[in-house]
Subunit: 352 residues, 4 copies
């Protein structure tokens, strides 16, 4: 960490900063140049907040040299993390396609969808039962009833389940049912939820917040990893920008940047990142070509009658066509589509 | 609500949309123009999500005419909401200045600060005890111990307490201690938390999310109001943009826009919206000149040794100078500074 | 165009709007609903600005139904525009890769680069001679001398030349030398320049502005098309967002959105949209998988000594590896790489 | 300037960077820490682009310590620049209010407006004659005829004229007529225009681009100052963000930030920064309270019939009420409204 002093900082101010650095358990490397005095703070700095120094008098700015996260960092963990998930893996040679409706609406809807997406090539089933809705007047999900429908769909198809958790009070219920706990964009910095999930041993799909930087996404992953839960996948789902022709802006750069900075698998959600069924396939192909490890896609047997997100949901036949293209691009990238074979065999998950 | 059909929509598709509108309990006004067929959906539409129609075939786009919120809307409630708070009010003629440290760090720190900010003209005391920190390795707040210190500072000064709540599991504890529950920017769309707080009768300071639109802020207020809690103040605290010379961008436009759209009081937080002590006073003056009902300001007796946000915290003497200017601008706006007189007399708050 | 009146608009205000619509040569379709009165303005509206009505009393908002551009619109021109360029085409089955240095620095540098990129599979040569630099103290380009070097590189390789034009006063000079006039992001709304180029018959590569919407990009294309120049290619080069880990954010969504809205070819510039050589290949592959018609890539024989943009320039060998992958993805998309064969044979271009 | 090397940079790479620094005429200060090797480049660095070093192998990132501009910097020029303008000054004790229509539409319109805004307290007259319009089909301004009307309005009222220049080819014409050359947001990085204006001695109002950082605004000012034209005022006019309830987002933080970084006067344009007449007065008051040196406001005698920007134009009577409030806030800030007295007496301006 480098602490850059103001041009007119006094020797007393420099001294005060140096003492602060030492009291934080760091070593000092002083560099008194013509332009500015720079105080290097050397040691384990990832767990030292910059605002420990920013408020000191005479300090112009504080600049990190190393990253503020460690467990999520590729520097600390150079090999790709390869997470097992019901007979296949995420983050290795296989490309995982997760698919299903925005919301679980009924037993028949989710079972019908599960069968269709499996046939089309999906390896996991998504479906929301607690829905974060902007309006208090919108459909908020089926709750536990929805989880039971999901479990039944899983029993019939072998597809592991991905479902969103919205609060720390839902952890106990959710880990009983789901294979992957999804943390939604609006909860990426719900630190109480992150800590609670860090204490479980259930896999996690952590979505990037609407206006979260890539570094902040990795800091949120660090919360979960620091709790001892190593089964974390990251998910780019579009960021909020000035552009209004799509629901969000897919940050495709985030794919190679994340693959460079972290060992965790990276998934893309083109349904939310575009918000429009017509654009999903193009962006899904782009993601795999850019090096993503998988996709999460909204599929609904009858989008016109979906209770939520109908506009961005694919019909099963369109989804099947898309998966075929994804498979071809995967091959060019030296990878192959993950598939579920045989019956569902749960991982040893749940609580630590 | 207007449903605009694609240029090539078939009569069958138009018919299907019309039936959907009717089944949602709305009336239909069909307008078949040369450019496009437009289906007006008339009635109580604020609680109808647009995605009920967006997924239907042949639909180009859906446009609201009226707002998606009702209880928060000035149209529904034309008079300003004036909230009582320990002998003064928020949202009426008085300008309330809330001040205090980012975090409660110790008994002496918070009591010393409370005395100083009261003397300088503050009418309420802020102080965090549960801190939403980007890093799992940063100071996370004193918890209940901090609440006890806050209560003692209140007993000594009469200043009501504003403190942030981070999770629905903290509601019971927090309503025992605080006068105003602050919902932080990162939790503006933590819908479980909003619902839980809607069920209390404790005042709320709802902060705008880093990338939340003004409409989304009002939708989050609607969650709380819909629960029966009418004591909601809104807080602009800066939004995330491309500009990096300040921590956030103060959306000063939001002040007159909110005063136009809603009856709820509007507070500005220049400490977070600028992120730099040198810029706080200028933006605080701007807020009052723009019509804000109050300010929330970070003040620390020794910013250089603050455990968090030292860079943006004012020393008490700078704060006092600022409050004096605020008082002068308030006068031009036909208003005056709120002050606490006599002992603390709690409102009947807590659970409904 | 729909003009939505305020809830409390008077009949006189409605009448005034209706007269204004008629005086603009449009027909009126009045829809007096319970929620709001909506005045449809019907006819040729693409050339009517919405602010003709927005300032009228009683008007809440004005909403376009049809697009504000016509010549650039796919609705008006359903077939893809396929532009000829020295023996190959842009916008049809061929994928065009344009490559070369940020700036032409010397005769040997540009000739060496031209030979290398042609060998690697590029079909056109880029090189800046007038450089838009943020600082007045930075290298501003070689000017006409650079154009002569470019022409010599073209003579040796057959590669057509793409170079940026910065001002209307450079038009005469530029059309003498270059095959494609590049309009940079900072000049996307330099309307005098757009008009001047619209009067030439030289091909154009129009880059999207840093914070331009897709609609604004198409409106700028409309300026050129309206002048009679039909040879326009669009270029996504990244937009400015809050994310700082890359120079810009590649709006990959823009590829399918543009292919949907317009018949013009779409090129992606991953060098500027990422700003980092390490990320260029991933985003280039993504672009072709998303349906782009080509790429423009910065290649420099010795990036470490480039006078500008060295950080984001590829070495020829890395570029060659990338083009190979692009060719494989092109094949999956049913396309093939454009190549230059034989000598350079200029199109009949220049002035109209 | 600090060049931070990658953790695994080789001694050869460090050596190569050091040689590059020296060859740029800078001195080297090497700091080999445990975390990283940092190479300080010391000397006159404002005119050295960071990309001179960013492309070198082994370089992680390059960080400026001092600003990339000099003439615009307060460090270089600590005293406020106070620019004379027809009997009053900008940047000193006086607050200047510039007002007038978006476009000059006719002789009577501009004269009527000039008389009205002068009476209300304006000290200068604005009016566009070359209009940068998003659509090629919109009204593009009266050109020289408009300048003649402006000159006549000036002769009648004594108000100096502010008008936008769009291209370097208009310089000769514009300096004959106007007192202040306005550079619009879309041309803030039209470097050819900036250079051409730098060669004149006419005052300049330089508007911040829609997505330009504050540093970029100052770099554009540096272009003009470097040409020898010292009469530069800066103008915040709103930036583009995700918020859609206003046309732009007023970056009120920019006022104190600019006053801190530069000696140049700072003006705010609340008409464009809000886009809505109802919000102009609130944001205008905020600007003066935040420390701005003046305002530029769109006023039209009949906004409903304005050819452009009617929605955001104030009627003269609303403008007069606003100026009164501005005068009161100016007083609190220790300042007063500038006024024009007697006849128009032009400065010695025009070409150098």
């Amino acid at each position: 960490m480098m602490i850059i002093m103001k041009a007119n900082a006094t020797p007393q101010q420099v001294e005060a900063v140096i003492e602060r650095v030492k009291s934080a358990g760091l070593n000092v490397h002083l560099s008194q140049g013509v332009e500015a005095t720079i105080i290097g703070a050397i040691g384990e700095t990832h767990n030292i907040p910059t605002d420990l120094f920013e408020g000191l008098e005479g300090v112009e700015t504080v600049q990190r040299i190393t990253q503020p996260y460690k467990l999520a960092s590729r520097q600390f963990h150079p090999e790709d993390s390869v997470l097992p998930l019901n007979g296949f893996t995420v983050g290795g040679d296989e490309i995982v396609v997760i698919a299903g409706p925005c919301s679980v609406e009924s037993r028949s809807q989710i079972i019908e969808t599960a069968i269709a997406v499996k046939e089309a090539g999906a390896a996991a089933l998504r479906g929301g039962v607690f829905k974060p809705r902007t309006s208090p007047y919108s459909f908020q999900g089926l709750g536990e009833e929805g989880l039971e429908h999901l479990a039944e769909a899983r029993a019939q198809t072998g597809l592991p389940i991905v479902a969103e958790i919205m609060s720390q009070v839902q952890v106990e219920l959710m880990v009983k049912y789901v294979d992957v706990l999804q943390i939604g964009a609006r909860n990426m910095q719900n630190f109480n939820l992150l800590r609670a999930i860090g204490e479980t041993r259930t896999s996690v799909l952590l979505k990037r917040g609407l206006s979260a930087t890539i570094e902040e996404l990795l800091m949120s992953a660090e919360y979960i990893l620091a709790g001892g839960n190593q089964q974390v996948m990251l998910c780019e789902r579009g960021i909020r920008t000035f552009e209004t022709s799509t629901r969000n802006t897919t940050d495709i750069n985030a794919i190679p940047v994340l693959k460079n900075l972290t060992h965790l698998p990276v998934i893309l959600d083109p349904s939310h990142s575009t918000g429009h069924a017509d654009y999903v396939a193009a962006v899904a192909r782009a993601a795999i070509a850019a090096g993503a490890d998988g996709l999460i896609i909204e599929v609904h047997p009858d989008p016109a009658h979906a209770l939520s997100d109908g506009k961005q949901s694919l019909k099963p036949e369109k989804f099947a066509a898309m998966v075929k293209q994804i498979g071809q691009i995967a091959q060019i990238m030296g990878r192959r589509l993950a598939t579920v074979q045989g019956e569902y065999a749960p991982l040893k998950q749940g609580w630590a």
